[in-house]
């Protein structure tokens, strides 16, 4: 056997290699006496280096290692989403960790390894490598959810996330095994090419396998009816970890789903009805249950379930334009969701707070700038123009109407209206409610300010120039079709 057809090219993996090296450096330096404080700086350095390498790889279209690593526009855009999510959540983490006295260098190493797993998931044509990337992403997240070791809520969040995540991995793996049985291959390119002969020879294995794969990824992105873990885990985990959860694994799960469903199983038409049901359930349950929450983190958990529903609408419609609008929505969602969580982290740094709505009262008079930013992010989550959230929903729902899914678009718009209520509750609590006790002062430092600036600029910038960004995502998606 020779390796000449394999294209073993390590330069394809430069972003991942830089993340891995920095992660190990953080761990090894962290055990020495003077190296403990370098975790944050090294983590940022690794992420920025990986971002630089990814941007340099932007225009290429190469596959290597027998098709197990593929760097095209799709994976580059997703890698940029993951790295930006990582940078922003790292910036907001250090202050919170220092305040709660859990500032260990292992936190930064775990975040870096998790992002490494996400990048592996988004850059592969092989189902085995996608599964391995999913595990590399998830295992650090189980630890991060339980990172606050002396807080019982954090422990509980870690255990709940582990049990349900491992259960989902088992389903996903069984589904991959059945698809492997139907086609004798795990390479998505071969599956796409041989789809019709597979569907004739072994239809039961194929359909059962795809159903189980959908269940497995549905758990990860928080689709209903697999969303039970999300509110408890989001509430119990430390707030910067929740910020990272709400963006990273969701985007990675959608990256893998888009590659599997829109490239591998493109010819399977029956998936559309299943995705239709999932999208409707997810939007409805996410938005309606968020109305009744008293804790801001739980409300944001249900709201991120609802946003996963909107992206599922884009996946249901299928086709190039719709999925590209889903990509654009994910890009905008990264910015404004992380912005909202950044402000929540700043608020949670104070002692004795528990992220309730009643703690937000009177914020506008003490910190008007922060309150305004929070209002911008809430408007963007709800979908008011001219923010990125509005244009994202516009593209997704108009794509649904063009694809003939009128009812899907109607349900989507109605649930968006419902969501406006609970997002505006936050704004009203900040600005218009009389405070019965004075608002505790919040400490600010340059890293937090930088994170807030990045997210605000991203949320507004994506909204002010939507057409160039949607073209970018269309171009990214077209690169593997």
């Amino acid at each position: 056997m020779n390796l000449s057809g394999a294209n073993i090219d390590f330069t394809l993996l430069l972003p991942e290699i830089s993340l891995a090296i920095c992660g190990f450096a953080i761990l090894l330096l962290g055990v020495t006496k003077r190296g403990k404080d370098f975790g944050f700086g090294l983590g940022l350095f690794g992420l920025i280096a990986a971002l630089a390498f990814t941007v340099q790889q932007w225009g290429t279209l190469e596959t290597g290692f027998f098709g197990m690593v593929t760097k095209d526009g799709f994976s580059s855009l997703y890698n940029i989403i993951f790295l930006l999510a990582g940078i922003i959540s790292l910036l907001i983490a250090q202050t919170y960790l220092r305040a709660k006295k859990i500032d260990k260098p292992e936190y930064y190493a775990l975040v870096l390894f998790s992002i490494l797993g996400m990048m592996v998931m988004a850059s592969s044509y092989d189902l085995i490598i996608i599964f391995i990337g999913l595990e590399i992403m998830s295992i650090p997240l189980y630890v991060l959810a339980g990172f606050h070791r002396f807080n019982p809520k954090s422990n509980e969040a870690g255990i709940k996330y582990f049990i349900i995540g491992a259960f989902a991995s088992g389903f996903l793996l069984y589904g991959i095994a059945l698809v492997y049985g139907a086609g004798a291959t795990t390479d998505l390119r071969l599956i796409a090419a041989n789809y019709h002969s597979m569907a004739q020879q072994a239809p039961l294995l194929l359909y059962a396998g795809v159903a189980l794969i959908l269940i497995g990824f549905g758990f990860k992105v928080g689709a209903v009816p697999f969303h039970m873990w999300a509110p408890d885990v989001y509430q119990g985990a430390p707030t910067p970890v929740t910020a990272f959860f709400s963006v990273g694994p969701k985007a990675a799960g959608f990256a893998a789903l888009m590659r599997i469903l829109d490239f591998g199983f493109d010819s399977m038409d029956e998936i559309q009805s299943v995705l239709w049901i999932l999208a409707v359930l997810t939007m409805a349950v996410g938005n309606i249950l968020a109305l009744f929450q008293d804790n801001i983190k739980r409300m944001l958990a249900y709201s991120s379930i609802a946003h996963a529903g909107y992206i599922l609408v884009a996946l249901t419609v299928g086709g190039e334009g719709a999925v590209a609008s889903g990509l654009y929505y994910l890009l905008g969602y990264t910015f404004f969701n992380l912005g909202a969580f950044a402000i929540l982290t700043i608020l949670d740094t104070r002692d004795g707070t528990d992220s309730r709505f009643s703690e937000l009262t009177g914020m506008a008079s003490r910190h008007p700038f922060l309150a305004t930013l929070l209002a911008i992010f809430m408007f963007s989550l709800a979908g008011f123009p001219p923010t990125a959230g509005f244009f994202g929903k516009l593209y997704i729902f108009s794509g649904a109407v063009e694809g003939g899914f009128i009812w899907l678009a109607i349900i989507g718009v109605m649930t968006s209206f419902v969501s406006v209520y609970y997002y505006l509750r936050v704004v009203v609590a900040c600005f218009f409610t009389k405070a019965d006790h004075p608002f505790q002062q919040v400490a600010m430092n340059p890293y937090l300010a930088l994170a807030l600036i990045i997210t605000a600029v991203g949320a507004l910038g994506l909204g002010l120039f939507p057409s160039s960004w949607i073209d970018l995502s269309r171009q990214a998606f077209a690169s593997f079709l």
Binding site: F131, I132, I139, Y142, A177
Partner: protein, 105 residues
């Protein structure tokens, strides 16, 4: 007495193991028991890979390689899970999953 197992017999066996694993995850009270059931799920999928490797893609060994990867991944997950259980045992003195329910829902 000339029974020799066919593909569907093997698949029935692995489906039975998968179902036992699901039953275990949903029913066990001890967290370590849940972990054992999760291992059973992952290993029944590994068995499926080996079965299909034998019957569908005979000269290649990609199914066996995947089974080896699954063993490594299952080992890593078990390690992390036990660490989380030790943490919760220290704070709550129990690993009973029905007792771990302070977060509402």
């Amino acid at each position: 007495m000339s029974f020799s197992p066919e593909l569907h017999h093997w698949l029935i066996l692995s489906t039975i193991l998968f179902s036992i694993g699901i039953y275990g995850v949903l029913t066990r009270r001890n967290a370590v028991g849940v972990l054992m059931s999760v291992e059973l799920l992952l290993n029944s999928a590994a068995m499926n890979f080996l079965i299909f490797n034998h019957y569908a893609s005979k000269p290649f060994i990609d199914g066996a390689i995947m089974a080896l990867f699954i063993i490594a991944v299952a080992a890593a997950e078990a390690v992390i899970a036990m660490a989380l259980f030790v943490a919760i045992f220290r704070s709550r003195k129990t690993v009973d999953v029905t007792q771990i329910n302070t977060l509402k829902g």
